[in-house]
Each structure stands twice: as C-alpha cells, then as structure tokens.
C-alpha cells in the first residue's frame, strides 16, 4: 500500500469520503459543506467556459468588423434584462426565438426520425415467432397508450381488451429491462469512486 503524496488526490479523496458519509450519516456536516463547494465550483466552471466561448464567438468577430451577429447578441443581452424589475417581459423575445427555434428544428425531422422510421422497423414480414410477437406487441403497446381509460369498455365489448392488457405486460418487460441496466449504471459510478480511493489514493 502506497498512499498518494499528491495534495489534489488527497483533496479529491476528502471530497469523496465526505459525500459518501451522507449514506451512513444523514446530517453529515462534511457532506453539506463539501456539496456546496462542489456546486460553487461547477457553476464557476460553467461561467468560465461560457465566457471563453463568448470571447471566441461574439467579441472577436465583433472587434474584427463582423456585425452580422449583432442581432443574436442583442437578443442574448435581453435575456439578462429579465432580472430588472418591471422589465422581465423583455426576455420573452429571445425566449421566443429559442423555444420556436428548438421546436422548428425538431419538428420536421421528428416525424421521419421517430414516427415513420420506427413504424417501418416494426412492420417486418410475419415469417417468424419473433416478428409476429414484435408486430402484435407494437399494436398492443400503442393501444395501451391510446385506448385505455375512456375507451376501455369499448375495447372490452369488441373483445379486444386482451390487446391493451398484453401491451401492459410488454411494457412491464421493458421496464424490467430498464431497471436491470439502471442498476448496472449506478453501480459502475460507485465502483469508479472506489477504484479511485483504492488505486489512486491508497495505492492498493
């Protein structure tokens, strides 16, 4: 065992153990203050990186005479005006551009990317049990979302209640699969921290 001599590793180990102390000690003061420090640094890093980008993409082009970006710069500055009491409605202009921009960009391609492509992928030749299961399962899941609630009695009358129930079962399998992989994901982050403590800090 060769404990690290690097002060940054010691600091990182202190931060790690302080935050982990929350698990066994709900009111851990180490956890509270270290978490505040980390949140402060995270916010600071975001500002530093954001400022670097503003220098490259806004200040440098403007000082070089490229005034085509004046409009987005003004809109961006209007976002900050929202903190002035009585003038916060001004921020709606840039928010309108952001919200509508994201919507417009996403809308045209969503129908192709998520709707049409996935329906095509679900319509396979019914020449194997897997394909039949996938086709019926897809209909069942969609009917579960659209035909449950007010139309449940109608579905029962049409002898199609089994379809929505089957859809629910298929969804449970998917949620089980998601849970199984979620456990792996969470464990891997904890193992990563333990690897740091054991290898980098304690030198085991």
């Amino acid at each position: 065992m060769q404990i690290s001599q690097d002060p940054i590793v010691w600091l990182a180990a202190f931060v790690t153990i302080s935050i982990l102390s929350f698990v066994f000690w709900n009111d851990s003061p180490f956890y509270k203050y270290v978490q505040s420090a980390y949140l402060g640094v995270a916010a600071g890093v975001t500002v530093v990186v954001g400022w670097s980008n503003i220098k490259n993409q806004v200040i440098t082009p403007l000082t070089n005479g490229n005034y085509t970006i004046i409009i987005p710069v003004l809109l961006g500055l209007l976002l900050i005006v929202r903190f002035i009491p009585g003038l916060n409605w001004v921020a709606r202009y840039p928010v309108a551009v952001l919200v509508a921009g994201g919507a417009g960009l996403g809308l045209a391609n969503t129908v192709q990317a998520q709707f049409i492509s996935q329906i095509k992928a679900g319509l396979k030749p019914l020449n194997s049990i897997d394909n039949v299961l996938m086709f019926v399962g897809l209909l069942a899941v969609i009917s579960f979302f659209f035909l449950t609630g007010r139309t449940t009695r109608v579905m029962e009358k049409m002898k199609l209640g089994w379809l929505t129930r089957f859809g629910r079962i298929v969804l449970m399998v998917a949620f089980g699969a998601s849970f199984g992989t979620t456990v792996m994901g969470r464990c891997s982050i904890l193992i990563g921290r333990l690897q740091f403590l054991l290898t980098d800090f304690l030198g085991l």
Binding site: L11, L20, Y38, V45, V97, A103, G176
Partner: protein
C-alpha cells in the same frame, strides 16, 4: 406588445425553420441558416443568466443570515474563486486545476454514485412479486442484471442469450411503441407552441 410580439416571433421562427426542410426558396433558406447560427449565440447568454440567477438567490440569503446561509457562503465563495482564477489566470493555473480535479470531478461523480446505494436499498425493500405484472418486471430485471455482467455467462451460457433476446424483442417492441407515442406528443406540444395555442413558455401574467 408584451405577449403578442413574442408569439408572432415564435410563429415566424418556428414555421420558417420547419418549412426550410421542405421548401427550396432562397430567401427562406438563407434566413434559416442565419437563425440556426443565432440560436447558438443566444444559448451562450442563457448560461450566464443561470449563473446570475444563482447569485441572486444566494446573496440575499447570506445578507439576511437566513436558513442555510453558511452553505450559501461556501457556494458563492468557491464560485467566485473559480470564475476569477479561470478567467484572469487561465484554466491551466494551479488553483483552477485544483478546484477542477480536486473538487468538481470527485464531487460530481460521488454525488451520482450515491444513487447506487439508494437503488439497491429501494429494490431490496420494495421489489415484490405482488401480481403478474410485477413478477414479470422482477424476473426480467433479475435476468437482465445477470446478463449485463460477466457472472451471468459464468453461471450459464444461456443467460446472455436469453437476456439479448429479451432486449431485442419484447423490450425493443415496447420501446418502439414509446418512441412512436412520444414523438406524437412532441409534435403536438411544439406545434402548439409555434402556433401560439400554448403560451406557458411566456410565463408571467402581463
């Protein structure tokens, strides 16, 4: 003016960007290229707004010595130190690097790692085979947990095979259904935003 003009802007921008994908009309296509690049610059300023908001929430708390004001002081101190050293001394200087490698990296990762404890504890205490659906969920979860790690194939060569089948057939089927239905919801919500039928994003009453 306070509500109408933003709604009109949203309509023009949203419709313009959407139609740009379908119509070849030089003024529209050129304008769309410009607007797409504007979005990047406007988004940069929104980061600064988030940081400013943080200061406006915590500084009054510190001034009034209210609630967890000591933690707020710690947060603001470290935030300002990081900003000052990062901007004026560069990101390669020793203080900024110490904060990044010694506080941000371990802090962020460890906070996320706490979820491992909570998910394990929650699964052990609440995961019960009470009905057909919950039993199916439980069995699938156990199967996938085993097939995702190396011990699954060490226990039986069929575990990864069955796990792969569950992932590729019933799971993919359900996820496909979720993708299709959620895409319809996405289209509905965003069309309503663009057409001004939904104005929640405007916020406020005036």
């Amino acid at each position: 003016m306070k509500r109408t003009i933003p709604i009109v802007i949203a309509f023009l921008v949203g419709m313009g960007l959407m139609l740009d994908n379908f119509i070849t009309f030089a003024p529209l296509n050129t304008a769309a290229v410009s607007v797409r690049s504007w979005l990047v610059i406007i988004a940069l300023f929104s980061i600064m707004v988030a940081a400013l908001n943080l200061l406006l929430v915590h500084i009054p708390r510190i001034q009034r010595r209210q609630g967890s004001w000591i933690q707020s002081s710690v947060l603001i101190t470290f935030m300002l130190l990081t900003i000052i050293t990062g901007i004026f001394m560069g990101t390669k200087n020793v203080v900024y690097s110490t904060f990044y490698d010694g506080i941000l990296t371990p802090g962020s990762t460890t906070v996320n790692s706490l979820l491992a404890f909570f998910i394990a504890s929650a699964a052990v205490r609440t995961f019960r085979a009470r009905s057909l659906e919950s039993s199916l969920l439980l069995l699938t979860a156990i199967l996938l947990m085993l097939s995702n790690v190396t011990i699954g194939s060490a226990i039986s060569k069929y575990i990864p095979v069955i796990g792969q089948w569950v992932t590729n057939v019933p799971n993919a089927t359900a996820q496909r259904g979720l993708i299709i239905t959620s895409s319809l919801a996405f289209v509905t919500i965003n069309l309503r935003n663009i057409l001004g039928l939904s104005t929640q994003w405007l916020g406020g009453k005036d």
